[in-house]
């Protein structure tokens, strides 16, 4: 009994722990987010534009539903960070010189706010400071409108706009090479020639305001000023990542505990059913002495409650411990002023209540039979197990199987539901590993597709201002540059029917090698001389197909509106790419050879020299080095893989152990007598062990294909769950993952089986034969 109760306790503890962990994390993040957003006035609407007079702010404030307006200057610039070979990208954001409440307000972690007239003072984001070990008082160099300026860090701050601090268009944060810097508006105005002007605005809305209406009115006001289109929180990157994470936590916090507690119900039902039938006589005696049904029922429920109490204590403790770990993990990615674990008592109480409910559900069904027996009937030994011709006879398998194998099949056939649930539970443990590892395999594949087939450049450069074709030749002269492919990117709104989407259209040279759209088989999609190549996910959002003509509203320069045909689809896992032949894009814009940036292939040996030159090139606002980005990604991803794999294996082993150990123990209790008889008849220990564990082996054999299918189906479900605009996890079935899942469960089954078999080996034959079953 002890071993069996332990198995139930462990599975129950997993259920409680996952619930406590996920719910606490969910609650903590959700509260932290809500609190941060309201205390620091996170805006509702965001717009980036080319340039507008500050006076326009009043016009925006007049729009019905808008409660406040924050105009500002936002510029991406190149930074030279001490100790960092590559140039970093700094996002400069203007703030008032004197501290006053504003939208997207700052939480000052360390140091002080800007001092009026303190030229060159900056506040920097905490993530960036930590990643680069920058402290208050340190300085860094930035290119401000073509001139190098030395900036002094006076404070370290956080903003609700950058809880998840990531460079736009990237999938993984790289806090070493991208950071936010807040500077005096006056300084930025003069540095970027933006006197009395702004290029970015945030708005907050009154409760109940019509967001879509406000957005379209803002767009109308700002369109003449080079607006890239207003968008709401849903499209704000940091908000989006955090909200998606909350969605995942909510889903996992529901599904995982449900699975574990389902297994608990089943295990307790089997365990107590067997216990009740072996204790028939005792139950009868108690009843004969006048114990009521209620008292006897309670006795068995108490046993279930032992497992619940032990499992609850263990689960709550493990859950709290894991929540702390998860919170620590979150603080690496989500930057809050304070992210405190919110493990309110109600979460713990609900966890324990659900666990107790699941346990009682399993126990009550078993105990009901015990209390229903009339004492006289209960005192008689249970009649021999009744068998009738069944599955074997129907399937005509009988002649192919030895009597020992027939025993196995008939016993399973006789308790079909128990066998079915056992198979389901064991297959679940395979599926948990498969589906859990799916995300890992898929992210690996995504990164490989994106960075081996789509993005093949070593360095991406973004120009501060549009450049002429001459820039290409200047770049080619830089040290170590082997190949230059310049590109043009224009912000645009694609419209098809009533659907629209803000995107960047990327113009690629005809002979592009460093960046090329690929199809689902990773074959490069050849850019047609005219027309667009759309990422499949974008085409689906617009419900458009190749051959359809869509409206392109350019959000730059003269803001032309053109009709363009979709010529082909690309199928990359990251982003919502729109591609066009570079010359075709120039024609569409009726412009000369204008370039927004370039991709470089670089001789690795000369890279340090190149980085040094790039740091000194003021016309470049952004530099991304593929290799360092990938390296930093693999490092943090590798750590999380190990942790999550350890948990998945732990969960799977717990379920497999619980089910198989209990199954084998119950089988031993039910058939110990039969097996002892076989030993008397001359069967060896090995032979009866095979019969006892044959059942578990048969269940395992049935569970493996089911687990594989279930794992694959869950992977499909997850791939839909993770179909985001920012990235889509490809559906992948890595044979090594499936093999690993099967191996883990087979080993868990084998070990659990052998623990039970040891009892069988030490059974005293003469004792067993004396006892009439």
């Amino acid at each position: 009994m002890r071993g069996q109760l332990l198995a139930v306790t462990l599975v129950l503890a997993c259920g409680v722990a996952t619930y406590v962990t996920m719910r606490s994390a969910f609650r903590s993040l959700e509260l932290a987010q809500a609190d941060y957003y309201s205390s620091f006035r996170f805006a509702d609407i965001f717009v980036h534009l080319r340039r507008a007079p500050v006076s326009l702010g009043a016009a925006l404030a007049d729009i019905s539903g808008v409660t406040s307006v924050q105009t500002r200057i936002v510029m991406d610039v190149s930074l030279d960070i001490p100790g960092l070979p590559e140039p970093a990208t700094g996002r400069l954001i203007s703030i008032p010189e004197r501290r006053s409440p504003m939208l997207n307000d700052l939480f000052l972690r360390e140091g002080r706010y800007l001092e009026p007239g303190g030229h060159g003072e900056v506040l920097i984001s905490e993530a960036f400071a930590l990643a680069n070990r920058l402290t208050v008082g340190a300085s860094l160099d930035a290119v401000l409108n073509g001139k190098w300026e030395r900036l002094t860090i006076v404070g370290i701050a956080l903003s609700p706009e950058y809880i998840y601090e990531i460079r736009p268009s990237e999938v993984f944060p790289d806090n070493r090479r991208f950071g936010v810097l807040w500077m005096s508006g006056d300084v930025l105005e003069s540095s970027f020639n933006m006197k009395e002007a702004f290029n970015d605005v945030s708005l907050s809305l009154s409760r109940g305001a019509d967001e879509r209406e406000v957005i379209s009115r803002v767009d109308r006001v700002l369109s003449r000023y080079g607006s890239l289109g207003a968008f709401s929180r849903t499209d704000q990157i940091s908000y989006r990542f955090l909200t998606d994470e909350l969605g995942e936590l909510r889903a996992y916090g529901f599904v995982l505990p449900l699975l574990f507690l389902g297994v608990v119900s089943f295990l307790l039902n089997v365990l107590l059913s067997r216990l009740v039938s072996t204790q028939r006589a005792q139950i009868a005696v108690l009843k004969a002495f006048g114990y009521t049904r209620y008292e006897i029922g309670l006795h068995y429920l108490e046993l279930a409650l032992v497992a619940v109490s032990a499992g609850a204590v263990l689960g709550v403790a493990a859950g709290l411990w894991l929540s702390v770990g998860l919170m620590n993990l979150y603080t690496r990615y989500f930057h809050f002023p304070a992210l405190r674990l919110q493990s309110a008592p109600d979460i713990l109480i609900v966890a324990v209540a659900i666990a107790a409910g699941a346990a009682c559900l399993g126990a009550v069904a078993a105990v009901r039979r015990a209390v229903a027996l009339a004492p006289a009937e209960a005192m008689r030994p249970e009649p021999p197990a009744t068998f009738r011709p069944g599955l074997l006879e129907r399937l005509g398998l009988r002649t192919f199987l030895s009597p020992a194998s027939r025993m196995v099949v008939r016993n399973l056939d006789r308790r079909r539901w128990r066998a079915t649930f056992s198979v389901l539970a064991v297959s679940l443990s395979i599926a948990i590993i498969v589906a859990g590892s799916y995300a890992i395999d898929a992210v690996e594949l995504l990164v490989r597709i994106q960075f081996q087939s789509v993005q093949r450049e070593d360095v991406t450069l973004v120009f501060q201002e549009l450049q002429s074709s001459r820039a290409r030749y200047e770049l080619a002269r830089l040290p170590g540059v082997l190949r230059v492919e310049a590109f043009r990117e224009i912000p645009a709104r694609l419209r098809f029917g009533h659907r629209k989407r803000r995107v960047g259209i990327l113009g690629l040279p005809v002979d592009a090698e460093l960046r090329r759209p690929v199809d689902s088989h990773l074959r490069p999609v050849v850019l047609p001389p005219t027309g667009l190549v759309l990422n499949k996910a974008l085409a689906e959002l617009l419900v458009a197909r190749p051959g359809d003509t869509i409206t392109v509203e350019v959000l730059e320069g003269a803001r032309p509106v053109r009709e363009v045909t979709i010529m082909a689809l690309a199928d990359e896992p990251v982003g919502l790419g729109v591609y066009m032949d570079l010359s075709a894009l120039h024609r569409l814009m009726r412009e000369g050879e204008t370039l927004s940036g370039a991709w470089l292939r670089v001789d690795a040996r000369a890279a340090p020299g190149l980085y040094a030159s790039l740091k000194r090139t003021p016309s470049i606002s952004g530099v991304a080095v593929r290799q360092v980005m990938l390296a930093s990604f693999w490092k943090s991803f590798g750590e999380s893989i190990q942790v999550s794999t350890a948990f998945l294996v732990g969960f799977a082993v717990t379920i497999a152990f619980g089910v198989v150990y209990n199954g084998a123990r119950v089988a031993l209790s039910e058939r110990g007598h039969e097996l002892a008889s076989l030993r008397v008849l001359g069967y060896t220990r090995g032979e009866i062990t095979r019969i006892l564990l044959g059942e578990q082996a048969a269940l395992l054999l049935a569970a493996i294909p089911l687990g594989v299918v279930l794992g694959y189906l869950l992977s499909i479900l997850l791939s839909h769950f993770f179909a985001r605009e920012l990235f889509r996890l490809p559906l992948v079935a890595n044979p090594a993952t499936y093999a690993f899942a099967i191996l883990v469960v087979v080993i868990a089954t084998l070990v659990s089986g052998l623990i039970v078999a040891r009892r069988l080996w030490h059974m005293d034959l003469t004792e067993v034969l004396k006892a009439r079953e």
Binding site: P403, S677, L678, Y683, E687, L769
Partner: protein
């Protein structure tokens, strides 16, 4: 004790030979002497009944003869096999090759039909009878595909006998084979045992506290308090049909 002297002079070598066999075990904190220096020989083809009240040690005697248990001291030989300190594997092989058991409560496998219960044993035997032939021998030729729960107590016991004899054992050991059966069925089962002894030449040892069946034996061994009180040879065996109790 005048045991050896009272044994008839047999020209044959004994198949089983027990010398000075004792068996002690702990029952809780109490040491129980189940056998106290037992000497006994069994000869080829004989029908022997071991008689004694419960607790007399007769089941222990059967367990040691059948290789289910080891003596605390003394010697047990089956032909040239020394069973005194045999390993578990050796005892298993001994039971598998030479011994058939019949128990008071049949010990059939409920998930197997009569035929399959017999086949379970013939599968691991070297020169077995055909399972259906073994069942015909005990008069169950028409019940081959019935499960134990579909058979009466007597029928179940006859399946158990068929199962025990199907591997052509050298010795058939029966522990209270009629204990759970009514009078008529009990006699039917004894007739089957007698027939097995007569037709297959198997040594049959029956343990019972029912003195009425001693008449069908070649020899009757009376056990009392862990020792053999008397061995009696019947001059002529009575047919089971003539027994009454």
């Amino acid at each position: 004790m005048p045991i050896l002297q009272s044994q008839p002079v047999m020209p044959r070598e004994p198949v089983f030979r027990m010398r000075e066999v004792t068996k002690c075990y702990l029952l809780g904190d109490v040491e129980v002497h189940a056998l106290r220096g037992v000497d006994l020989d069994l000869f080829a083809g004989e029908f022997i009944v071991v008689l004694g009240p419960s607790g007399s040690g007769k089941s222990t005697l059967l367990n040691i003869l059948g290789g289910l248990d080891l003596p605390t001291s003394g010697e047990v030989h089956y032909l040239d096999h020394n069973l005194t300190a045999a390993s578990d594997a050796a005892l298993t092989r001994f039971r598998r090759e030479h011994v058939g058991f019949v128990f008071q409560f049949y010990n059939l496998i409920p998930s197997l039909t009569a035929l399959e219960n017999v086949a379970l044993v013939t599968d691991i035997a070297d020169h077995p009878l055909d399972p259906s032939e073994a069942l015909r021998l005990v008069g169950l030729g028409d019940r081959l595909n019935h499960f134990p729960s579909q058979l009466s107590g007597g029928e179940q016991q006859r399946v158990a006998i068929a199962r025990a004899v199907a591997k052509r054992p050298d010795v058939l050991l029966c522990d209270e084979p009629t204990g759970a059966l009514d009078y008529a069925t009990g006699k039917l089962v004894l007739e089957v045992l007698e027939r097995v002894n007569r037709e297959l030449g198997t040594i049959v040892g029956i343990i019972t506290h029912n003195a009425a069946i001693t008449g069908m034996a070649d020899r009757v061994v009376r056990v009392s308090s862990g020792a053999i009180a008397e061995i009696h040879c019947n001059s002529a065996r009575i047919s089971p049909s003539e027994l009454s109790w």
